[in-house]
């Protein structure tokens, strides 16, 4: 059973007076603990609501903002079972090159090629590793004590979305998550932005590796090995605007951020030459001076004089990271994630002010959001619908269950509509309920809930006896389910509906499965 320490209480008591005052009126300590665990974490595990309430919710939040101070040994232990973490990016690249070569050979050899999908066998080792890597995300979200870090890793993975199944990203993705996103998830936005811009995964995903100054010629045949042999993507012949456009629209300023098509073109020119080494050379980030447009550019009214190479890209990224439109846009997305789908202005303003004062320190921005009255407003509590990932992970956590190392639980998340790292659109997965709530999806969630309660959900071991000791009677059972699954916040209507159903099946050995399945599959558990 999951056992979560909440850390050395003694040490934290010293901070109690200054922080306790910020707990808003209107919510009991228990309610505010539950709310914080629903938003900053993937829902409460067994006993966590009480633990956080006892330690003081603001103190728990401060602790989550400093993940390095939280021991996470159980997760570290589990991570050792994930072979994908042992591969360096260049090793994966070498595997990719070899797999491609073998595939081409096989196809040349087979005179009467059968209908085997052209993309079949070569992709297999990557599919296996990809599945393992997806499961790692689920395991981390479920078991990590550093819950806010995991939530933010997921947030930035979507904000700086890369599609795992696009060509070279099949081997570039793991290092993108491990070395680009995660180390910067609670750092400075500027560092994170620059890290993504210098990641081969992003350069490939948004085609910037193909973007070269018009008329420039490579010293040798470039990068064709990135693509399948003779795929017909000829040597690049000009600028490609994809990264430039998404950088402005999705990563920084936002679609209404006040830039023009001319800005997009100038940005694309600034990033000409930002690309990738050949896979056989390790497939790392590479700036290729031959491909860089050395002319003068103007972006957002700022002049970038001629004759600067890679530096002007870094200068531009710093300008964008500190731009007011960026602060506003990204703060709005953070508030949509943590507060409400339609983020309240006051909360966004608080976040922007913190961004301004701190120079884009993500922790300072988050702290401002978590201290904003909007975060604690009654209409914020349970206002958001869980994404499939949040639904599955919070359900597993509620039961104190543990995902195994097979990819199966991640596949459950995928079947519910959110295959991890596989959002093809650069927008990443959406955050609003309209995108996740539909009839088919709800039925799938109900089935998942019942399967989980019955111990039939693949990829996770549930011991209902640990989670929910046998109850003396129906009322006690419902009370226990309320405490364990719904954090003690079960509404009267839900209580009545579940009780009615239990009466209808007149108790029996399945009563516990029914009660837990209905609670997890029911409307209240879909919210957070």
């Amino acid at each position: 059973m999951a056992h979560r320490s909440v850390g050395p209480l003694v040490l934290l008591v010293a901070f109690a007076p200054c922080l306790a005052a910020q707990v808003p009126a209107g919510l009991t300590p228990r309610d505010s603990a539950l709310h914080a665990l629903n938003r900053l974490a993937y829902g409460p595990g067994p006993g966590e609501v009480e633990q956080v309430a006892a330690m003081g919710v603001m103190r728990w939040i401060e602790r989550q903002l400093d993940p390095q101070g939280i021991p996470d040994r159980r997760l570290e232990q589990r991570e050792r079972a994930f072979a994908i973490l042992d591969y360096e990016a260049d090793e994966l690249a070498a595997m990719f090159v070899e797999a491609r070569r073998a595939q081409l050979e096989r196809q040349r050899d087979s005179m009467t090629a059968r209908a085997a999908p052209v993309d079949g066998a070569a992709a297999r080792p990557f599919r296996r590793l990809a599945a393992e890597f997806q499961q790692l995300a689920v395991v981390r979200a479920t078991l990590s004590e550093r819950q806010l870090l995991e939530v933010m890793a997921d947030f930035w993975t979507n904000h700086f979305n890369v599609f795992y199944a696009k060509g070279a990203d099949r081997f570039l993705m793991p290092s993108y998550i491990e070395h680009t996103i995660r180390p910067n998830a609670l750092g400075r936005f500027e560092d994170l932005l620059i890290a993504t811009a210098q990641s081969p995964a992003m350069m490939f995903y948004l085609d910037n590796w193909q973007s070269v100054a018009p008329g420039s010629t490579p010293p040798r045949f470039p990068l064709s090995a990135m693509r399948r042999g003779g795929q017909g993507e000829r040597s690049p012949r000009g600028i490609n605007e994809n990264y430039a456009r998404e950088l402005l629209e999705l990563h920084t300023l936002g679609v209404d951020g006040g830039y023009t098509q001319d800005d997009v073109i100038a940005v694309a020119r600034i990033f000409t030459g930002w690309g990738i080494e050949r896979p056989r050379d390790g497939a790392g980030f590479a700036f290729r001076a031959w491909a860089h447009d050395e002319g003068e550019k103007v972006v957002l009214g700022q002049r970038f004089p001629a004759g600067h190479g890679r530096d002007e890209g870094l200068r531009l990224l710093r300008i964008l990271a500190g731009h007011h439109a960026t602060m506003h846009f990204v703060s709005g997305k953070l508030c949509a994630r943590f507060v409400r789908d339609d983020p309240p202005d006051g909360c966004v303003d608080d976040a922007v002010a913190a961004w301004h004062h701190s120079g884009g320190d993500i922790r300072a921005v988050l702290r401002a959001i978590f201290r904003s009255p909007d975060f604690w407003a009654p209409q914020t509590v349970r206002a958001k619908v869980k994404t499939p990932l949040e639904f599955v992970v919070s359900a597993v956590r509620a039961l104190g269950a543990e995902p195994d190392t097979t990819p199966r639980l991640a596949q459950v998340v995928g079947r519910l509509g959110q295959p991890l790292y596989l959002q093809s659109a650069p927008t990443g997965y959406p955050e609003t309920q309209a995108d996740w709530v539909n009839s088919g999806a709800l039925l799938n969630r109900m089935n998942t809930a019942v399967a989980l309660a019955a111990g039939r959900l693949p990829g996770v071991v549930v011991r209902l006896d640990d989670a929910l000791p046998p109850a003396a009677d129906q009322a006690q059972l419902v009370a226990a389910v309320n405490a364990r699954v719904l954090g003690g916040a079960m509404s009267e209507r839900t209580r009545a509906a579940i009780s009615d159903q239990l009466s209808a099946i007149s108790g029996g050995p399945d009563a516990r499965i029914w009660a837990v399945g209905l609670a997890i599959g029911g409307p209240e558990f879909q919210r957070q």
Partner: protein, 420 residues
Amino acid sequence: MAITRRVFVKSGGLALFSAGLDPLFLARAALSLGRPGPSSAVPGRPILVCLFQRGAVDGLNMIVPHGDAIYYRERPRIAVPRRDVIDLDGYFGLHPSLAALKPWWDNGSLAAIHAVGSPDATRSHFDAQDYMETGTPGVKSTSDGWLNRYCRHEQEHEDTPFRAVAFGPQLPRILAGSAPSLAIDDLQAFGLRAPRDATRDRLTQAFEALYEGAATGLLASASDEAFEAVRMLRAANPAQYRPVDGADYPRGRFGQSLLQIAQLIKADMGLEIAFADLGGWDTHVNQGASEGQLALRLGELAQGLGAFAADLGERMRDVVVLTMSEFGRTVRENGNGGTDHGHATAMLALGGPVNGGRVLGRWPGLDPARRFEGRDVAVTTDFRDLFGEVLARHLGAPDLAPVFPGFVPDPARFPRVIRS
């Protein structure tokens, strides 16, 4: 509408009934299958079935320009020999694996549209599929699909939970968006699942009561829809509609998808839009000519389409099946006996309302000077003009502007794939 009947006499001597001034699909279906059609038919609501050939189908080996010497010059190893091509109009012909579709061509319910594609020059599968599904070529940030936008803006149609259904584990981009749409992997398994029927029914009731009592907002309306859908499926039991004799669906996911689409249509569940996809078209290596990889894929497509049309019989009068693929392939074969990523491709339209028996679209020719970037078939029909025409003239969409933002659909550019 008034239905007049007249008698068709096939050379074989079979007497058949048809209706209307144009030969209706009833007769066409019966004619080509050599069996009498069902007796009565009330005109139903129009239905669109979209089939996505993921991986970029080689349009030139699907609808073969066998009358063009350049085709044979550029493809010494993989051109379909003239003797194998099923001639359509003296210049174009069907790949021999599509032979099963020839009767539909002959009775005027199958059309091909050549040189159709995207105005965007990308040769990335990922981007091009995305553009074709969002309906906004060149704009990557569009998050919803054009079929979903159609459903959102065209609310004349009675909304049932089964109005727009994609077959597969996930909702594809083309149907993503705020209008309700379903992704169904298996009709039989849709709904609450339990080992025994009695348990399943009780579980369904339990969740329904729970949601009725405690759900609010979107969760309430979506759960209403869900239980309504489950009830409809239970009552109509589409699985009872077994394929008619002679409807031989190919094994595998594609055939199963088509079979289930036919079941939904026959069960009158309010289906207006169905979507399924099939892969394996990315033939860079050894694609083959009359036989080989591509031939096998085309064979599955033809068998599926043929089975579907035969299975639906007279219901095909209301149905248009439209194939699509993200782009075409190079005119010239590559060094591996395959073709690389190109530009325009060919699409097929099948069904009673189709202006069939002809290759539509303006053919740009294979002359290198007329090719896109000197190497690929040029796009002369923007795919939005084709899709737009089907929405407007088949489904009756009054306004295409919100469906294809940033594009002004012009009936003058419609390829005339739907009969007047």
